[in-house]
Amino acid sequence: MSGPQLVPTIGLEVHMHLATRTKLFCPCAVEYDATPNSRVCPVCLGMPGVLPVMNEKAVELAVRMALALNSEIPGLAKWDRKHYYYPDLPKNYQISEYDQPLGVGGSLDIETLQGPRRVGIIRVHLEEDAGKLMHAEGGGNYSVVDLNRTGTPLLEIVSQPDIHGAEEARAYGEALRQLAVYLGVGHCNMQLGQMRFEPNVSLRIGSDSQGRPRYTPISEIKNLNSFRSLERAVAFEIARHREEYEADPAGYTLEKLGKSTRGWRDDSGLSFLQRSKEEAHDYRYFPEPDLVPFVPDRKWVEELRKTVPELPEKRRRRFIAEYGLPEYDAGVLTAERAVADFYESVAALAKDPKAASNWMMQDVMRQMNEQKIAGDDLEKYLTPSSLVSLINMQKQGSINRTTASSVVFPEMWKTQKTPEQIVSEHNLAQVADSGAVEAFVDQALAANSKTVEDYRGGKKAALGRLMGEAMKASGGKANPQLVRALLLKKLGG
């Protein structure tokens, strides 16, 4: 007997730290490796009498992200207090946005193994992060708290339940990360906890007699801080829901059990119950009286909208269409905004998108990957105009491709010298004088009589070996076309 088809239905709450220099309500620096409790002041410590002051940069970044997600920016957003007692939250309330967030609606297009998907966005809002509580090691009955993170600006993005599998959840998370980094909204360094996921997982169980969809209970998994744990936790929950439902199809439903909160253990690969519906918190939200509502100036919003750059997915498709790049190359070159900008500069200046992509894919990306250099730092090593000079020198034949790639380019990367400087300092200019090249060819022929015989005996591959010998004799500087022509001539065609 086969039951109804069970369709995973997943919404994702994503939290990310915004890339501000200072905290959301005070001038304390946002730093991740500082001595515990050294980046704090009376405001973020929640001392008696302090008041929050909104970080305007954080609001701008939040609106920027919301605009990139095609959210509507309402005429008024307000701040609310969300109450719960925990030692990492000194005020025992978090300043957040409850019913009037700064971004409403929107969507994000993502690529999945099953093809393109559009994930709806419910809301985008700004709130403050809490500190970190660390429990005593070795069973001591105390905990210590580090409040450096307290008050770090946190953007929360809540998706529609438009995600239908673990891989899709991951793809959505990765697309959001890429977008935030692209926009300069967040650094989203997973190791630093700058991005965290809370998937809400349920399975659709066909429809009831009135045609309304039915679901298994919603479980929200808290605080996943890597793409891997996101994907694994969602996959685990889907399987768990399936089992629970199959064991009790009448009882394991959303109407009966509601929503629960679960934790995730990465080591065992299991989720565990934290709070059932009955234990749900009453956060006693109410409007934050210490902050004035955010009433965005429409002109400001439109100016900001104009500065939102072309987004990665759209740019990737344009690179394929406009520059004729293979899908893979287009994906690599658009993954980081700075790299994509760099590529487009080189392609335009060299008037040769193909050569530009070859150099980017082979030489530039190799150096970046080997040295783990972020796109934003690329121009510290290489400028588009110097790469264009190198490409032009090679195309005009003043150096050959091998020398350009193996000697000149690494030297440019290391020293930031121009290719002209390097070629002249190292005497690398290609030798195109036929008299000089003829001497190298003669040298190669004289020293390799066996190979010459092979060639004359019909082994055409021997020509390559002779070319290599002649090039070696020239120290790599001979013009390869000239070497080849002279060899063919001397070998009697």
């Binding site: 001392m47 008696p48 009498g49 007692y85 000194p90 005020k91 309330y93 006693r284 210490d290």
Partner: protein, 496 residues
């Protein structure tokens, strides 16, 4: 006449003319405190060493002809819910903050120091400013200098009593529902609650953030104007503090002696209804008659939402905000932590149970209830709607008149202990004052006479937002006519 009999403005002139020194004035206040505070209990802490050092600094600066601030050498008392970084306590009259030391100065305290004031010490209040008598202080009740068996009002009872008993010429208080005006009325001094946003709340320990406002106490209108001048203005650390581009701070003293003419005074019939003590009513009506003689026109007005619903609205808004503002006192990061507990939740519960007094607990519970899921719409949200109606009452009233007058408090000072068993009767002490906080408008209490038993009565004057300058001029019109002006209370050596 001794130095402590001088008003702040008179002392300022005497200092400028070299007739006295900041050190002499400070010593005189400290001597008065030493003599009177054991009875009056207006001050919770006094830092005489720091006060004398500061006074000497000011005297040296004056001798060296350095530029001096508005309050140079004038002693000022500060309500103990405003943070002072100098190692003095900031207790809010609560056990939970008894040992806490603020690491920073409140904006107003910074302003006082910048203007050369000599901060004498911190004054008593109802715990976290919740009360109308200072009986809710964890450290003892302040006595009314006019009758030490009676309360001074509250919550800024310590500041009002300190000024009335001439222990300090000036004091700062805070007013959430009447906490400056009601004790000013009961102690026979001038108290002013400015427009919400006129004075920064940064460093004022929050009771109800959307209502709290810091303001001055003085024995005269000019003294209150002087202290307001020194503390008003924008502070970027308080997002609700108004920008000076939109609302520049006027010179409150420059035109103080100019009467407001023509003057239409709104007299709300709701402020003269049931519950008003007939003796208080008679004194207030006599004051209104003085204004009529000065050429003012009395206009009967209605504030239909501003008495009947104001107390209910106030106690929902204020307690809701208080339940949130006071959540931070949990014994984790600072303040009192219960030494005997089993685990985190138990530590929270015991620290708060031991640290807070009954009235604070009552209000936290009321506010927690009002904000709870399922009750929010019926209480808090509805209260916000009524608050808008109260605001509109005032807008309509100020379209017809220049100010509103009535009694500050329905009764004169009441005996200590009389109302402590009945919180609701105590709450009605604020029936005429809370609506100004809900509507954000400024209000002053001006001494306007005495009951037959010799207890002071206050005239409340309310005006439109950011018209403190006009409000002070209106108050000054009456003050010039009052023959009893300058009378000292028995505790400060006056005739009983």
């Amino acid at each position: 006449m001794t130095i402590t009999d001088l008003t702040a403005c008179q002392l300022r002139d005497a200092l400028r003319e070299g007739r006295t020194s900041a050190r002499e004035a400070t010593d005189a206040c400290l001597a008065a405190i030493e003599r009177l505070n054991p009875t009056i209990k207006a001050f919770l802490s006094v830092d005489s060493g720091a006060a004398r050092r500061r006074a000497d600094e000011i005297d040296r600066s004056r001798a060296a002809r350095e530029p001096l601030g508005l309050l140079a050498g004038i002693p000022v008392a500060v309500k103990d819910n405003m943070c002072t970084a100098d190692g003095q306590p900031t207790t809010c009259a609560s056990r939970i903050l008894a040992a806490w030391r603020a690491p920073y100065d409140a904006h107003v305290v910074e302003r006082l120091r910048a203007e050369g004031a000599v901060v004498l010490g911190k004054t008593n209040l109802d715990e976290f400013a919740m009360g109308s008598s200072t009986e809710n202080s964890a450290f003892g009740t302040t006595r009314n200098p006019w009758d030490t068996e009676r309360v001074p009002g509250g919550s800024s009872g310590g500041s009002a009593a300190a000024v009335a008993a001439r222990m300090a010429p000036l004091a700062l208080g805070s007013d959430t529902g009447g906490s400056i005006r009601q004790p000013a009325s009961l102690c026979g001094v001038v108290g002013l609650k400015p427009t919400y946003g006129r004075v920064s709340r940064f460093g004022l320990v929050a009771f109800a953030s959307s209502l709290d406002q810091i303001g001055p106490f003085g024995r005269t209108v000019a003294d209150a104007a002087l202290l307001l001048q020194a503390t008003a203005g924008h502070d970027p650390r308080d997002s609700t503090s108004v920008s000076e581009k939109d609302q520049p701070v006027p010179d409150y003293l420059a035109h103080l002696e100019e009467p407001v003419r023509p003057l239409r005074i709104g007299v709300p019939r709701e402020f003269f209804g049931a519950g008003l003590d007939p003796e208080v009513e008679a004194v207030v009506r006599a004051a209104l008659a003085v204004y009529e003689r000065l050429g003012a026109k009395l206009v009967e007005i209605g504030l239909p939402h501003s008495t009947e619903f104001a107390i209910a609205t106030y106690y929902i808004v204020a307690t809701s905000e208080a339940s949130s503002n006071l959540a931070r006192y949990d014994g984790v990061h600072y303040g009192r932590r219960s030494s005997d507990h089993s685990g985190l939740i138990d530590m929270y519960m015991r620290s708060r149970a031991q640290g807070f007094g009954d009235e604070v607990k009552r209000r936290i519970m009321l506010g927690t209830y009002a904000l709870s899921a399922g009750y929010y719409d019926a209480y808090y949200k509805k209260a916000l709607r009524v608050r808008r109606l109260i605001r509109r009452d005032f807008e309509e009233a100020f379209a017809r008149c220049d100010c509103i007058m009535g009694p500050t408090s329905p009764t004169a000072a009441f005996p200590i202990g009389q109302r402590t068993a009945e919180p609701l009767a105590m709450y009605l002490s604020d029936v005429y004052t809370v609506s100004a906080n809900l509507a954000a408008v400024p209000g002053a209490s001006l001494p306007c006479g005495f009951t037959r038993a010799g207890l002071p009565v206050g005239l409340q004057i309310l005006s439109d937002v950011f018209t403190e300058d006009r409000l002070l001029r209106i108050a000054r019109m009456y003050e010039r006519q009052a023959e009893w002006s300058g009378r000292a209370p028995p505790a400060a050596g006056g005739a009983a």
